[in-house]
Amino acid sequence: MDNEVAIIGIGMHPFGRTDALSGQQQGAHAVREALKDAGIEWKDVGVAYGGSQDGGNADALSNQLGLTGLPFVNVANGCATGGSALASVIAAIQSGMAEIGVAVGFDKHPRGAFNPKPKDWGLEDWYGETGLMLTTQFFALKTRRYMFEHGITDDALVRIAQRAFRNGALTPHAWRRRELSYAEIAESMAVNLPLRKFMFCNPAEGGAALVLCSAKHARKYTANPVIVKAAVMRTRHHGSFEVFNPGLAAQQSPAPTVMASRAAFEFAGVGPQDIDVIQLQDTDSGSELIHIAENGFCEHGEQQHLLASGATDINGRLPINTDGGCLANGEPVGASGLRQVIEICTQLRGQAGQRQVPGTPRLGYTHVYGAPGVSAVTILQAG
């Protein structure tokens, strides 16, 4: 395709807790890092899309980066904020609106679990008051049913968390850098069985930004561009098992992840077997468990064996969440999807240090999923 778009710069503010900096300051830091990586300046940027959930407006970053008059669009798509911003920048570049675009996500959440308000979700007060409106509960209920239907045991949940913290320990910018033993995870507090404390990620802070341009100009800026082969976002259909649902339909339908994944593979003209390195949404062990199959990397039920055999480790056949994922990095909602893209770019450039996937990875994959039933997938290729 002669209309392809490439990532020419990546930048992050490390995830975790940075008391001295606002979410917007962390977002601006990420943009500056990405501009430096691309060897350009903010005034060279022709369009920007960005967002946060709790960190304020993205277009206010211009107050720190420079008031250059560029079109800067705020994106608010929950966990798919980064993915939506990226897809929008790509469309803007492909349309000829700008030569260079920036996608940025950042956030700064209060400590502890999210506490959503029923009315914001079109629900009545009783749902929250009686103790049913918790994301952790939803993940547990969905995971329990999935394990029942596909014959999976708690062992798989422990191994996902263990691998995340093992990879996090190899990742200099990760938040949680201590490896945890199998027993520490398996015996940690029962938050919402079958999910335990160390099987959940925490809300966090951080920023992530990308600089993109038309692939045919990419080598003007960098020796190692990453081509975006697909960037797809989809929302739920009737019958999908989503968060904050007092009732589920009689007939289940495929998740938004399945629709986004299929469309992305079709756009890119490749299949799951071609992918060398993978990032999957792992707000909790159960979600990653389900997402391995929903994204086409195995059949439902095969995860138990894949995880136990080490196939999803950095040296395995299907390296998943090489930087420790959300479990080790925390989840600043606005930034999380772009962190995944940055990790894949780092792997495809061969710059991932101790966590580098062996060989010469050529194709990478990212996947986010979140409330109220959205998913965004990218397929990335070393340029």
């Binding site: 919402n192 069985l193 009732g247």
Partner: protein, 143 residues
């Protein structure tokens, strides 16, 4: 259920009382027959707005479950002190229409909860604050 006066309910519109067991109320699309809980003003399956009240019944089977292991933040209003919080069961109950209803469970013991077990609708005093009338919600108990 022996209650001297009519119970204070967190969600009165969801329940029909007076029979041997409480009955859960939802809605059904008169165009395509899809059933909703709680009642919905429109059908997300066929996009119709022709909906009628539908009684989901009092009996179902356990479709999935978890134990709420920590005290939820507001808007939860169980009213107990943090130190007094007791984990509670939560599940989806598959009703005869096939719709699954999210509900508090009367049990919170993993050893006693099995997917597929028969369940019956009851009222549960989920908020019990001294000096106040208890507030009830719907819940499912083993049948």
């Amino acid at each position: 259920m022996n209650l001297d006066t009519s119970p204070k309910l967190a969600c009165p519109d969801l329940l029909r009382l007076g029979g041997e067991h409480p009955v859960l109320l939802g809605s059904r699309c008169t165009d395509c027959g899809e059933v909703y809980f709680p009642a919905s003003e429109g059908c997300t399956r066929c996009c119709s707005t022709a909906m009628e009240t539908f009684a989901l019944g009092s009996f179902g089977t356990l479709w999935s479950w978890t134990i709420q292991g920590f005290q939820p933040k507001s808007p939860y209003n169980g009213g107990e002190a943090e130190a007094d919080f007791q984990p509670y069961g939560v599940g989806y109950i598959e009703m005869p229409s096939g719709v699954k209803v999210e509900s508090r469970l009367t049990l919170a013991d993993p050893a006693q909860l099995k997917i597929g077990m028969p369940m019956v609708l009851v009222l549960l005093p989920y908020r019990q604050v001294p000096g106040e009338a208890p507030v009830y919600t719907y819940a499912f108990a083993p049948a």
